[in-house]
Structures are given as structure tokens and as C-alpha cells.
Amino acid sequence: MRFLEDATVLRNTEIRPGIWSMWVEAPLITDISRPGQFVHIRVDNQYLPLLRRPLSIGRVHETEMELVWRVIGKGTAHLARLKSGETINLLGPTGEPFKIDKSSEMNLLVGGGLGLPPMVYLFEHLKEAGLNAKLLLGVKNEGAIPLADSDTILTETEVIAEEGGKFRHGLVTEPVVEYLEQFEKAGISEHVSIYICGPWGMIAAMQKVVPEGKYKITQVSLEQQMGCGVGVCQGCAVKADGGETPYRLVCTDGPVFDLFEVEAPK
């Protein structure tokens, strides 16, 4: 079930240089959306740019939904110009959500840069369901954190910054390895679920540090250039096992895949 919904912009703020957070009112989509899904956004009514742009659904509060993005090109720049009260057409919720297992004793959520928003949605969702979760975020530096300083969730996020600063210095895989060791010691590894969203470099690193088959769920959310967003154009294929061909579609088979199914592009 999907909707084409004209969402109303509630507020649109530049939370870090070049990073925007927009809350929209979208009752139809928020009503049925789940963490890991995305919306496919018509950024312009003149077909300029021609295509919609996919953004992960960030936090959802009742009928309101947050979208967080970095300005990259034409489409995301258009979005940054939207003002409160304007409407924007969303196609969604699209894609398969993260699998959630209520029996997981621990959920380890690992976001990289702009991969954080769906992790935040998942984190809040798990917390509401009374489940344990840790939220790790790897970024280059403070300016790349896709959360506002005033965001309460920032205090619950373990930020690891490549350039250090006031955060732990290094790569996000380092605390991941530490946590996995802890879980191992506590003998709960097979009751742990791991969720990842970030750039390919991070995904590849996670494929190395996370032993295959040991955890309950190991899922990763992927990005690919999209056309339709609903499985029509066959455009968003990625190399991934588990389908009837070597390729699977990010928009309908994904964006969430098993960490060990996917293969980084050359």
C-alpha cells in the first residue's frame, strides 16, 4: 500500500552547513510507514529536474514526518528552498522496512553521515517498543552530524568523528568491534540485531568486522539512482544475492538488504 500525498511543509531548517531537516504533515503515509522505508519526492512541478528524489523517512511523530538531507545537486537544493506552508508531493511509503525481532536483547544501530535519519527512526521505534538499542554515528566532523545541537536524541547518540574534536576520534567500526566483543562476553551475540545505513566504505568495513551468521539480524540500507521508486523501471538494481537474478531492486526488494547479500560496486 502506497500513497501519492501532497504533504505540507511544517518547518524546514538548515541544521548544519548544507544539511537540512524538514518536518512535513503527511497523515496517509506516516500512518503506515515503518523504519527503513523511504519517500520518493517530486521536487519540482516542471519536470526540472525530471525525476523524483528518494529520501529516507526520518523520525515520525503521529502525522508528521522528518526528512533530513544534505544538499548535493539540483533536487536537494530545490528542497532546501521550500517554506513552511508550501506543499510537496510524496510517493510513499516505499521500500521494505527493517526486519525487527522483538526477542532481540540488543539492537546495534550504525549510521554513517546522512545514513543516520532512518537509524533515528528505527531507534525511536525500538525504544517505544521497549527494546534495547544503541545508536552509533560515524561522521567526518561535527559539521556532518545530521542532527541539530538541540536534538535530544543527540545525547543518546555515540558520535565517532574521523577528525575527532569533542567526539571520540576514529571510525565507527571501532566501537562496533568493542560492542561485539562485549556481546560475545555476555553470551548474547545470537540475540543481537545489527542495522546499518551509510556509505559503501562503511558497509564494506562492516562486512569485515561483523562475522556472518552469528547475529539474529544483520541488515543494511542501500542507495541507488532511482527512476520510479516502485519497481517499474528496473533502474535501481544493485548486485545482491537472494533474488532470481544477480540483481535486486533497491526500491522494492530493498532499500534494506542482508549485510552479506550485497556487493559494493567497483
Binding site: 502506497r2 520510479c228 516502485v230 517499474v232 533502474g235 535501481c236 538494481a237
Partner: protein, 313 residues
């Protein structure tokens, strides 16, 4: 009373707006967000004898104003289509035209034979703009002899409505149009995508894994209009105009240069509600211009010039 009904020879449509192959999937995907009955008909994703995996990613690249794709005809194959899809779309209030794309002639026959055995198919679009492996990757429709042979072989096994979809990547489309007509096509679909390419200047990588792909969207409309006009002047069978349509004005332009119906393609990705908008726009236009039937518009270009080959630069 203005009506959107149009006829393409033996095929009657309740709207001149059809969905182009590859841009409406198998008909099910958009059904929850846009009512298929706004379409006179839709052309399925091109279907082949077996499941085709398609080209390696990336398969899409947006350009300044349009889109490049190198899907590689990824599709579920005719058997899965007949079993899993067809039963779920036959109740749709729109015509179902199955696009067929194969690598050799025998496969076209095979696919059509299988489809002849089932109900719910209103016609075929022979995608003969795709590379023909026997001819080193040249499209069938770049060779008039192959075009005629292919169409007549399919004609021999089906009485259903058949349209041939031709590539614009040729010096003149006239002989291919005439060959398809000769072979027994009921209509022509003009045009498929134009060969194009995009590179990322930073990484120096091609934006499509296959390097070149098919160019579609609003920037190809002038090329499509020229090809439809060329086709209209070459044959007597109706022409379905395709290429860059985003507005009812575009539709009217295609009719003026000779189309009897149109297909919308890439724009559907952005606006699945486009067919309904186009129908409304056309009806309003017809009322204000006192046009009863869109067929009155076909080929009404005001000119005494014949079609010219080549750009008179």
C-alpha cells in the same frame, strides 16, 4: 459532445493516452496510486522468452533535462508474465498491449505463440528497436528487410492488433515504417529512445555501466515529432507518438504531426497521475476548440511543404 475515444485500426481506446513500455511495469505497480482506467491502454515492460537479468548497475543517469537508461530489458519472461501477472490485470478497465523484445526472430514467434493461448491480451508491441544479436547489435528496425520479415512472421501467427516500435537512430525512418506496414503491422510506435551517454567529469566514470544508453524525456520531443511526421507521410496505418510528453499541449502537437494516439514514458515516474491530467486537459481543449474527436486533429499540420530528409542546416 467531445470524446476521448480514438481508434488505432482494429484497436479502440477510451483515451489517446497510453503508458509506454518500461514506464508502467506490468500494470500492477502504479495501480494503487493512479487508476489504470485513465489510460486508453498500457504497454507492458518488454517481455522475452525467459527472465532476463538486465544490464549491470548503474542503469539510470539523469541528465540536465532528461534521462538515460540501460536497463537491458530486464524482465520476468513470458511464462511468469502469463502465470503471475496476466490474471491480475485482465479486469483493469484499459487495454493491455504486451511488448515483446527478443534477440532473434524465432523467439518473437515463440513468445507470441504462448501469449496467443491466453485471454486478456489486446495486442502486441514488437519492440524491434532493441539490438539484434545476429546482426551484431544493430536494431532490427535499422534494417527494413528484417523489419518486414519479423512483422510478417508474427502476423502469421496472430490476428491480434500489432504495432511495431522503431528506433530513431537511423538516417531515415521511412523505409522501416513502410516495411512494418508491408509486414502487416496495424500501427507504428514512434519513437524508442535515442542513443546517448553521460560521464561524471570528477571520477571520469561513465554514468551507465554500459556506457551508452537510451535518452528519453522532454529533450527528445523535437526529435520524436520529426519522426512521427516522417512516418505519417510514409504509411497509411495509424501512428502512436512517443517521446518527451509531459502536457496536453504536447499531445496535441503529436496529433498535429500525424499521431492517432500517444504514449507517455519517463514522465510517469515523476507523475503517475499524468494520464488523468492529460485527459482533462485534452477534454477542455476539445471543448474550447469545438473538436468532437481527436482524430480530427491527426496530421492537420498547416503546411504545403513535403517531408524533408535530413536537417536542412
Amino acid at each position: 459532445m467531445s470524446t476521448l475515444n480514438v481508434s488505432l485500426g482494429s484497436l479502440q481506446l477510451s483515451s489517446p493516452i497510453m503508458a509506454a513500455s518500461g514506464c508502467y511495469g506490468y500494470g500492477l505497480e502504479y495501480a494503487d496510486v493512479a487508476n489504470p482506467s485513465h489510460l486508453g491502454g498500457f504497454i507492458t515492460k518488454s517481455i522475452s522468452p525467459e527472465r532476463w537479468k538486465g544490464n549491470p548497475p548503474p542503469r539510470l543517469a539523469e541528465t540536465e533535462f532528461g534521462l538515460l537508461n540501460s536497463i537491458g530489458l530486464a524482465n520476468m519472461g513470458v511464462d511468469a508474465f502469463i502465470q503471475d501477472v496476466l490474471p491480475r490485470i485482465t479486469n483493469f478497465d484499459t487495454k493491455v498491449i504486451v511488448s515483446v523484445a527478443c534477440k532473434v526472430m524465432e523467439e518473437y514467434e515463440l513468445v507470441v505463440r504462448k501469449l496467443e493461448e491466453v485471454e486478456g491480451v489486446d495486442g502486441y508491441e514488437l519492440n524491434i528497436s532493441c539490438p539484434n544479436v545476429k546482426e551484431g547489435g544493430m536494431a532490427f528496425s535499422q534494417n527494413p528487410k528484417l523489419t518486414e520479415e519479423l512483422v510478417s512472421r508474427v502476423r502469421a501467427i496472430s490476428n491480434r492488433w500489432i504495432t511495431a516500435k522503431l528506433t530513431p537512430n537511423t538516417a531515415s525512418i521511412k523505409s522501416a515504417c513502410q516495411a512494418a506496414e508491408q509486414g502487416g503491422a496495424n500501427a507504428l510506435s514512434l519513437i524508442n529512445t535515442i542513443v546517448g551517454m553521460a560521464v561524471d567529469y570528477k571520477s571520469r566514470r561513465p554514468k551507465l555501466a554500459t556506457l551508452t544508453g537510451g535518452y528519453s524525456g522532454p529533450p527528445i520531443k523535437p526529435v520524436a515529432l520529426a519522426r512521427v511526421w516522417e512516418g505519417y507521410n510514409a504509411v497509411d496505418i495509424p501512428i502512436v507518438g512517443i517521446g518527451g510528453i509531459v502536457s496536453w499541449q504536447d499531445v496535441v502537437e503529436f496529433f498535429i504531426v500525424g499521431a492517432s494516439a500517444v504514449q507517455v514514458g519517463s514522465a510517469l515516474y515523476t507523475n503517475p497521475g499524468l494520464p488523468a491530467e492529460l485527459n482533462q486537459g485534452l477534454l477542455d481543449y476539445m471543448k474550447s476548440e469545438r473538436i468532437d474527436s481527436l482524430s480530427e486533429l491527426t496530421g492537420t499540420l498547416k503546411t504545403d511543404q513535403p517531408f524533408q530528409v535530413g536537417a536542412p542546416v
